[in-house]
Subunit: 353 residues, 2 copies
């Protein structure tokens, strides 16, 4: 016992004084700031989060201390206490695909304006256990979720429902939304592409499709629609993701080297299409006269390199903005009248323009 203490011995039989040393993080805490400012911790908290509730003098004093000390609030603690993390988790297949990036950038920007931070989870293309990834994200207690696609395992759906937070599924549509949806119909894209090309008079078709869920849906619809007109593809190739221009060139070579001579080749992305066009050109073929190519997404680099490329325009930025808008509204407690948004698409055929 520390008998040097000037205070009389207190009731030491009560379960006791700290046996455990405090594990300080070395970081400044809100308590430190409050002492320096001569107010209680809760007042500092208010100064930071609801400055309008604090007298301007107090506010100024606190802000001075915060600036001078370089205090940075601990949002792990804040989130735990308030049950709001100000985190939005987004699960996308990969960073290697400009399409998803183009959606995430505006989403990120909108959320950031309201002090929400976007955390990306990359599922990998053959969806490496979406459920595990989701669990990992949920353990961070995000305030909302963004999911790519509308197909989820039953355990994933359970987990999502249990999370009881706003969810937006993007890049697809579904009759059974979990909550919010912003996308378009890949079935209709495939059908529309087939009809467009058929309408231009093409009768000999080939396709190159990425190993990707939505790409396959588009291609299946493409094949079906052609089938309704009594046409079968002359050649079909599937390539790994993420796709590259190089793979596009190789695919073209494969189609031609196997002897197929399609009038038009339908690709699951502009990246592939661009590669096919580059290869066609280097073989001295004329596009679209000798062979036409159709892509998907209407990416800048393809459109500005080979204007003869026919493609499907999708407003990827709009998907991100709509998703962000709806999420923020939900997080703000607002009611959303139409939780399912079809952003649509349209076919761009600059060759015939």
């Amino acid at each position: 016992m520390d008998s040097s203490s000037p205070t009389p011995p207190t009731d030491a039989s009560k379960s006791g004084r700290p046996k455990v040393a405090a594990r300080s993080t070395g970081n400044l805490t809100l308590d430190d700031v409050s002492k320096l400012a001569g107010v209680s911790p809760i007042t500092v908290s208010r100064a930071l989060n609801h400055p309008e509730l604090v007298a301007s003098e107090t506010l100024a004093a606190i802000r001075r201390v915060v600036t001078e000390t370089g205090y940075v609030p601990n949002l792990l603690a804040g989130g735990l206490a308030s049950n709001r993390s100000r985190l939005v988790a987004a699960i996308i297949p990969t960073l290697g695909n400009a399409m998803f990036i183009d959606t995430m950038q505006p989403l990120n920007d909108m959320l950031a304006q309201q002090d929400y931070r976007l955390v990306l989870g990359l599922s990998g293309f053959p969806r490496a256990d979406e459920d595990e990834l989701l669990k990992g994200m949920l353990s961070r207690r995000p305030d909302a979720l963004v999911l790519t696609g509308v197909r989820h395992s039953s355990s994933t759906r359970l987990r999502l429902r249990a999370a009881r937070i706003p969810i937006v599924e993007i890049w697809d549509l579904t009759p059974e939304p979990l909550d919010l949806v912003v996308g378009f119909s890949h079935v209709r894209v495939g059908g529309a592409a087939a009809l467009h090309l058929y309408g231009k008079g093409y009768r000999r078709f080939a396709s190159v499709c990425a190993h990707d869920e939505r790409a396959r849906v588009r291609h299946a619809a493409f094949v079906n629609t052609l089938g309704e007109h009594g046409i079968n593809l002359e050649s079909m190739h599937e390539v790994q993701t993420p796709t590259t221009v190089r793979m596009g060139r190789e695919s073209f070579a494969r189609v031609f080297n196997e002897g197929s001579r399609p009038e038009v080749i339908f690709c699951s992305s502009d990246v592939l299409a661009h590669g096919l066009l580059a290869e066609a050109q280097s073989r001295g073929l004329k596009v679209p006269d000798d062979v036409a190519v159709m892509g998907f997404a209407d990416l800048d680099f393809a459109a500005y390199t080979f204007p003869a490329l026919t493609t499907v325009h999708v407003d990827r930025g709009a998907i991100g903005r709509m998703a962000g808008e709806m999420l923020l509204a939900r997080l703000d407690g607002k009611i959303i009248e139409s939780p399912v948004v079809d952003v649509g698409f349209h076919i761009v055929d600059r060759a015939s323009a």
Copy 2:
């Protein structure tokens, strides 16, 4: 006082029983699991985080409960208690640039394997207050930081030092590293590019440079090196970021429409270079005979579209992997012998190959 209590009155003068209702989150807690499994909470915690310390029977029982209930741990709470968030914050300029993406993907994958999650912070290109962004990220208490570039304001440097966590600066080199560095010298890239082109006999130069810190360093070095050989650029243009192929085309037009007839145009990225090549081609010019173009990064789509493109190869994936490796080592308490890694670069000139 609650006199209906069957227990004898306790020392009610002590500060008192709970006046505040518990604010349950609705989520299952570790406590719930521990009760269902008939063990103490800490045992559940161990079963989840250090299974080797738990008897296999107990472990099995706990795991059964976890699976059946769909329990998801709360990492906000865990992080607060353990002072480890398992978060790595990375600040990059934008998602719109394939170069940074190519670095982030492998970094993300490496970290994910060790259960660290990458949180991206987008600084925007004219670096919209790096300090604010950093503060926002630090408030999440990441276990490590990844920064793009080596130039930081003094307040930012202070904050970084105060954070006392591993930091890796990427995409550049510096004589004054904060901690770890993985990059290459943009000054040397600019110089090497100039010498390479000069060595091929070119004497009339133009440049198109993105409004970007590192791009400008490369160009300044390019200009300086040419200057040492008594050469001034005939034409210089700067374009906004993120750069697009379209902007490349427009830049080419601008150079030629102003009357300049350079033999070679040095661009700050392959995206721009690609655009220039597309425009040159559509004007019927021969590359590299009528006009040569040099890019930067060696992106797939450019290399496989216009093989005549001279460029600077940078192993972007290696930057991400090295950064991830070093960070993980640091987080694992290991000593790192050489904290500054120069991944280098080399000039690729497929035209003359």
